[in-house]
Structures are given as structure tokens and as C-alpha cells.
């Protein structure tokens, strides 16, 4: 291998890419060639160095200098200073002191890391690091000590349930697939994480890809499969790259391929990349997509365990489910079952987002209450405002109100409360959130992502969105509520797959828990949270206004009039409700009504 004295890591996550990370990378390459340094300095791509908000950024090793806010024109100067003359180019150095990892910080007291145990600890691109953390020892154990049935038994005893959201017992799934007579059988990993704001699986794939590969190997041994697929969404280029590196390394060591560990067991893996359809997270649509067909779901039964990929028995689990398996084998089913509640065992990763003090990725034992997650792990509501609702389970989940704060987070309790576990998105909303607007936002997402195969989902979600948009626009009628109720019932009962069946959940929870807010929009034409633009008015309080003219000068549409030192007035017909006047007013004279 060639020796480089310095390595430059260019961040190519989506934020930096949109700011021109590739152009920076090309400019660096060109400049290093021009200055004759290309044999000494290697340019590499990486994900997230830490402050993408000030990207494009790069990190130079061995010095560990972090440059931010670069433009293509800065590159010649930077290369000459740093790489030719060896001086740190101070003006681009990141000055801000910040947490090392904005997504995943050190665990808090309530957290238990099983799935995320290696994330941020090992080098994901070096299989030796994983081996040093007892990597592939669980595989060795099942191949030498267990029969496939014993393997399934062990997972059964642990009580592991599907982490993709539905919570079906993992070992049962394996059993069904093992019992199918047809061959070959396939093992599939669902890495098509599509919920807005959820990134649990991405971090596992990017930070500890071998744990997923090892989990799939064990599943393949248990069900009798020799070929696996990881279906990863195209929006995760770094995860795909890390996975491919991991698969190549495992193959080179003989941990994937023929006659693994001399046991006669063969297994190999391929990564398949999705094309960005949310519905492909649904298992039958996902398999159709792997086959090269349009990503559309089909009715079940037959279930994938009987007739799955290419018409053959297939086992499909989520990234997090597989990542749990090696630990269960290694530490024992009893250890795993020690976490969680009676019916929901183990831990679960969540992406905590919204109006919360410490957003990010967490892993907690199941059975923890929502209150503990929000106030202890998440640090409470941002700016110490009032908690209004929490949405669990992504766009198809329901919103839970303060009276559910002490609900233990497990599959049954969440379902009882009218929401779902889902893959692990948690969105916290404070008092300034309009629930009607939130329902409209999620319905907009769902109707866009509906594949269009079945009518209830295709037409029903579209109609619900139109009604919600009308309500937010102040044109709601008394008929809207019964129509929404009817659509909710029909879409959830008659849709083909989980997407349509879950689609009405956000609307249903507004109808059930936030009906006064919805009625205020329709009958009083008011938005209590002061969010919906058509239903609010900016006004200036005559007794507080000093006539300083700041608001009038900053108004982008010249809606504010008034003489100097005289009370100013906003013309509601011209006003676009941008809120700039409220921001710039030094006397809090602008109010929303």
C-alpha cells in the first residue's frame, strides 16, 4: 500500500454535498497535482465531521486540523499553506467548541446500549476492530455448538421482536421460513429507513456494519439459506459504502462465502440500493424492488416465509433486529430478556427530534415511560415550554397527549394508547405546535409516497390532504369532520399494505385528542397555536408602539404604514404573515391575533 504523510477527509454528507463538497474535493485533487503533492497527500471522503452547518468542511490528519466554510477559491491558498509549507491556515480553522458527535452523544443514566454498543467506538471500515470486540464469536458459537433449531430456540427465549415496527416475534418468523420446503431460501435485511427524521438504522450501518452482517449470517444458518440481500435506500451513500467495505473484508477473511469456519455452511451477501420510494420499506414492495420490478406491495398471504423473493421462502428483518442477534447468542437469551417488559424484551433505539433540549439518537430499555425519555434522556422541552404532544412511530404513528406521559413504551401499551412503536421516530411538540398543521404535513408526505396501487390509499390520502389544507386555510366546513372520520375508517380498513392502513393515524389522533383545536379552525376560523397563516393576523399595540419605524423599514411587502413617532398600522390585506415585524420590534408591540 502506498504511504501518504497526510490524509484529508472531505465531508460528503448531504448537507455538505449541497454546499459543493464534491467541487471542493475536485479542486483539492487538482491543486495537489499542480503543486506536486498528490503522491504525499491522500484525499478521502467521509461522513459528518461535526459541523455541517458551516460546511463544506474537511479534516486533515495526522494534525487533526478541522477546516470549515471553504470555497473552491480558497483551495490553492490552503494547499500551499498547509501541505507545502506546513502552516495551519488559521482563518479556516473551526473555532467553535462543540460536542464531538451531534447525533449520538454519551449515554445518559437511563440508556442501555446493545445495538449501538460499537457505534463511535470501533472503526467501521476495519474488521479487526469488530473482531477485537468479540465480533463473529456468536457466529462461531452457533456454527460449532448449535443446531439451527437450537439457534431459533435461543432467539425465541430472548423474546426478540421485529424492530421495524410491527413487533412480530423474530424467532417465529425464522421458524416459518425454516419449515418451508421450497429452496433456495433468502435472508433479507430491510435497511430502507424512510421515516422523516429517523436515522437509527443509518447509524448502525455506518458505525457497526459487521453486527448486521453477523446477525444475517446467524439467521441464514437458522433457516437454511445461503444467499442474502441488504436493501438500503439510495439516500444513504455512506451506509452503502461502509456495508460494501465490510462485506468485502468479511469475504476476504472467509466469514462470508463457501464453507464458513469449516462447518460446511455457505452464505454470501449483496447490497441492493433502493430508489427512494417510502413504500419500499414494506416487505412485499421491498422484495418486488429487489427483483427489479416496480416497488409495489402485494396482498399477503402468501407470506414471505412461504413465497417471498423470486417466489422462494424468504426471511426479512430490520437492521436493528439483526444487530441484536449476535449479542443474544453471545450473552444468552436470559441476559437479553432481562431488559424490557413482559411482552417486549430488550432495548430499542429512537431518534428523538422536535422541540426537545437534547435531540439525537438514544437507546433505552423497553418499558421506559415517555416522561423518562422526554425529561430525563432528552433533557426536557426546548426553552422550557409546555409539552403538548409526542408522535411515536413516524408519519403513520399517532400523537400522544400529556396524560400518556407515564405510558410504558412497549408494543402493546403504545397500541392501546392509539399509536404504534414503528421503527423508532419520536417527535416532541410544544405548546406552539398546531396539531391540524402537523396532520396536514404528515398527510402531505403520505399521499406523496402512496404507490397508487390500491384506491383507498391513493385517493383517500389525497382527499384527506385536500380537506386539511382547506381547514388550515380557514375554509373548513361543518361537513369536514364527519368526512374525515369516514375516510379514516375506510382508508385504514381497506388499504393493501401498512402504508395505507397506518396513513390515517395522524388525522385520527387529531380527531380524537385535539378536536377542540380542529373545531376552532373550522367554526371560529382561529388557530389556537397561532401557526396557520390564513387564520392569524399581525397587529401593532397602539399603547406600546413608539413609532420607531423599524417594522415598517423591515417589512418586505410594505404592509406597515405610519408616521415617525406615531403609532404604526399593519394592513392585513397586504401582510404575508412572515413575522419579521414581530422579530425586529424592540418594544414587543407586535402581537398575533
Amino acid at each position: 500500500m502506498a504511504y501518504y504523510r497526510s490524509h484529508v477527509l472531505v465531508c460528503v454528507d448531504h448537507q455538505c454535498l449541497s454546499k459543493g463538497a464534491h467541487e471542493i474535493e475536485d479542486a483539492l485533487q487538482d491543486e495537489l497535482v499542480a503543486q506536486g503533492l498528490i503522491d504525499e497527500v491522500q484525499v478521502l471522503e467521509t461522513s459528518r465531521i461535526g459541523s455541517c452547518s458551516r460546511g463544506p468542511e474537511l479534516m486533515v490528519y495526522p494534525e487533526g486540523v478541522h477546516y470549515v466554510g471553504l470555497t473552491v477559491d480558497d483551495i490553492p491558498y490552503l494547499v500551499e499553506e498547509h501541505f507545502l509549507k506546513g502552516r495551519v491556515a488559521q482563518k479556516f480553522v473551526d473555532q467553535e467548541v462543540k460536542p464531538v458527535d451531534e447525533e449520538l452523544s454519551a449515554p445518559t443514566a437511563k440508556e442501555v446500549r446493545v445495538v449501538l454498543r460499537n457505534c463511535g467506538v470501533i472503526d467501521p471500515e476495519n474488521i479487526e476492530d469488530y473482531l477485537a470486540q468479540d465480533g463473529y464469536q456468536a457466529l462461531g458459537k452457533v456454527l460449532t455448538e448449535y443446531t439451527p433449531e437450537q439457534t431459533i430456540d435461543e432467539v425465541m427465549k430472548s423474546g426478540l421482536r421485529g424492530r421495524g415496527g410491527a413487533g412480530f416475534p423474530t424467532a417465529k418468523k425464522w421458524q416459518f421460513c425454516r419449515a418451508s420446503k421450497d429452496t433456495p431460501k433468502y435472508v433479507i435485511c430491510n435497511a430502507d429507513e424512510g421515516d422523516p427524521g429517523a436515522f437509527m438504522n443509518r447509524r448502525v450501518l455506518e458505525g457497526d456494519p459487521h453486527s448486521v452482517i453477523e446477525g444475517m449470517l446467524i439467521a441464514a444458518f437458522a433457516i437454511g439459506s445461503s444467499q442474502g440481500y441488504i436493501y438500503c435506500r439510495a439516500e444513504y451513500p455512506i451506509a452503502v459504502r461502509t456495508l460494501r467495505i465490510a462485506i468485502d473484508q468479511a469475504r476476504a477473511l472467509g466469514l462470508l462465502g463457501k464453507n464458513i469456519l469449516g462447518s460446511g455452511f455457505d452464505f454470501d451477501l449483496e447490497v441492493r440500493i433502493g430508489a427512494g420510494a417510502f413504500v419500499c420499506g414494506e416487505e412485499t414492495a421491498l422484495m418486488a424492488s429487489i427483483e427489479g420490478n416496480r416497488g409495489e406491495p402485494r396482498p399477503r398471504p402468501p407470506f414471505p416465509a412461504v413465497k417471498g423473493l423470486f417466489g422462494k421462502p424468504s426471511n426479512i428483518n430490520n437492521v436493528e433486529t439483526y444487530a441484536n442477534v449476535p449479542q443474544i447468542i453471545l450473552k444468552g437469551a436470559e441476559w437479553f430478556a432481562g431488559f424490557g417488559t413482559e411482552k417486549s424484551k430488550g432495548t430499542k433505539t429512537f431518534a428523538l427530534a422536535g422541540d426537545i433540549k437534547r435531540p439525537g439518537l438514544i437507546e433505552v430499555p423497553l418499558g421506559i415511560t415517555l416522561r423518562e425519555i422526554i425529561y430525563e434522556v432528552g433533557g426536557g422541552i426546548k426553552d422550557d415550554k409546555e409539552f403538548k404532544a409526542i408522535q411515536t412511530g413516524g408519519p403513520m404513528g399517532g400523537c400522544l397527549t400529556p396524560e400518556f406521559l407515564d405510558t410504558p413504551v412497549d408494543y402493546e401499551e403504545l397500541a392501546k394508547a392509539g399509536s404504534i412503536m414503528g421503527s423508532g421516530g419520536l417527535v416532541v411538540m410544544d405548546e406552539e405546535t398546531c396539531m391540524v398543521d402537523i396532520a396536514r404535513f404528515f398527510m402531505d408526505f403520505i399521499q406523496e409516497e402512496s404507490c397508487g396501487k390500491c384506491t383507498p390509499c391513493r385517493v383517500g390520502t389525497r382527499r384527506m390532504l385536500e380537506i386539511l389544507e382547506r381547514i388550515c386555510d380557514g375554509k373548513g366546513t361543518a361537513q369536514d369532520i364527519p368526512t374525515l372520520e369516514m375516510l379514516c375508517a375506510q382508508v385504514s380498513q381497506d388499504s393493501l399494505c401498512g402504508l395505507g392502513q397506518g396513513a390515517p393515524n395522524p388525522v385520527a389522533s387529531v380527531l380524537k385528542r385535539f378536536r377542540p383545536e380542529l373545531e376552532a379552525h373550522i367554526y371560529e376560523k382561529k388557530c389556537p397555536a397561532k401557526v396557520c397563516k390564513s387564520l392569524i393576523r399581525y397587529e401593532i399595540l397602539p399603547e406600546t408602539c413608539t413609532g420607531c419605524t423599524v417594522c415598517a423599514r423591515n417589512c418586505p411587502v410594505n404592509a406597515i404604514s405610519g408616521e415617525r413617532r406615531q403609532t404604526h398600522v399593519i394592513d392585513p390585506d397586504i401582510c404575508v404573515r412572515c413575522g419579521i415585524c414581530k422579530q425586529v420590534c424592540n418594544f414587543n408591540a407586535v402581537v398575533i391575533n
Binding site: Y4, P62, E63, L131, L253, G262
Partner: protein, 122 residues
């Protein structure tokens, strides 16, 4: 690393990986610093640097960090190369030609024998 063909191989691979990890954490890293100020570059520091990098590559040495520095105030002795190994004191070499640079890497960095005839007494 060789392929893992049995459970014993797997256990051995784990031990090796663990050993490597601890070795990385404890062993003294060798650092070679080349003076790359205007004076250094004019005197041929780039050739010395190239020779150092080539030698490290051809001899496949591990754990060596090569970095640059500016003028250290001894312009008449340029090209200047400094070597720091682990906790040992810094050794400074002057008038380093590509040949001497290669000797510094082979003798001092790889075998811990200081190349006495080119040391600048500091």
C-alpha cells in the same frame, strides 16, 4: 490477515486484533518533521521529504508520522529534518540530502540508531 477457516482461527484472529489494538495505543510513535520554510524548500527540502516518504513506503514501515514545519532559524543548515521517537528527546539533522534522508529513516526511525555524522548539536 489470513483467512479464518475454523473456530480456532476465529479465536486467534480475535486475540491478534486485541493485541494490535493495545500495541497501537502503547507503542511510541515516530515523528519525522521536515522544515519547509522558504529557506528549506530553496535548499531542497522537497527532495528530502520525497525520499523520506519513498523509503517509508518501500520498507513498509508502520506508525510513522511525517509532518512539516516552518523555518526554525538555522537557515544555513537547511534542509533540516527532526526526528522524535516516543518519549526520547528530539534529534535534529542538518543539510539533509535525499540519500541522508533515506539513511535517517532506515537507521534512526526503523532501528533507533542515530545517524551521528549529520546531527546538529542543539
Amino acid at each position: 490477515m489470513t483467512t479464518i477457516k475454523s473456530l480456532e482461527d476465529l479465536k486467534r484472529a480475535r486475540e491478534e486484533a486485541l493485541n494490535k489494538k493495545t500495541a497501537k495505543a502503547t507503542s511510541g510513535v515516530a515523528q519525522i518533521i521536515v522544515g519547509m520554510g522558504t529557506c528549506g524548500i530553496a535548499a531542497g527540502a522537497r527532495d528530502a521529504m520525497k525520499s523520506i516518504l519513498d523509503t517509508i513506503e518501500s520498507d513498509s514501515l508502520n506508525g510513522v508520522i511525517v509532518s512539516q514545519t516552518g523555518c526554525i532559524g538555522l537557515c544555513e543548515k537547511e534542509p533540516i529534518v527532526q526526528v522524535i521517537i516516543g518519549e526520547e528527546p528530539k534529534v535534529t539533522y542538518g543539510k539533509v540530502t535525499p540519500e541522508i534522508a533515506a539513511r535517517i529513516v532506515r537507521d534512526h526511525v526503523a532501528k533507533h540508531t542515530i545517524v551521528q555524522d549529520h546531527v546538529i548539536p542543539m
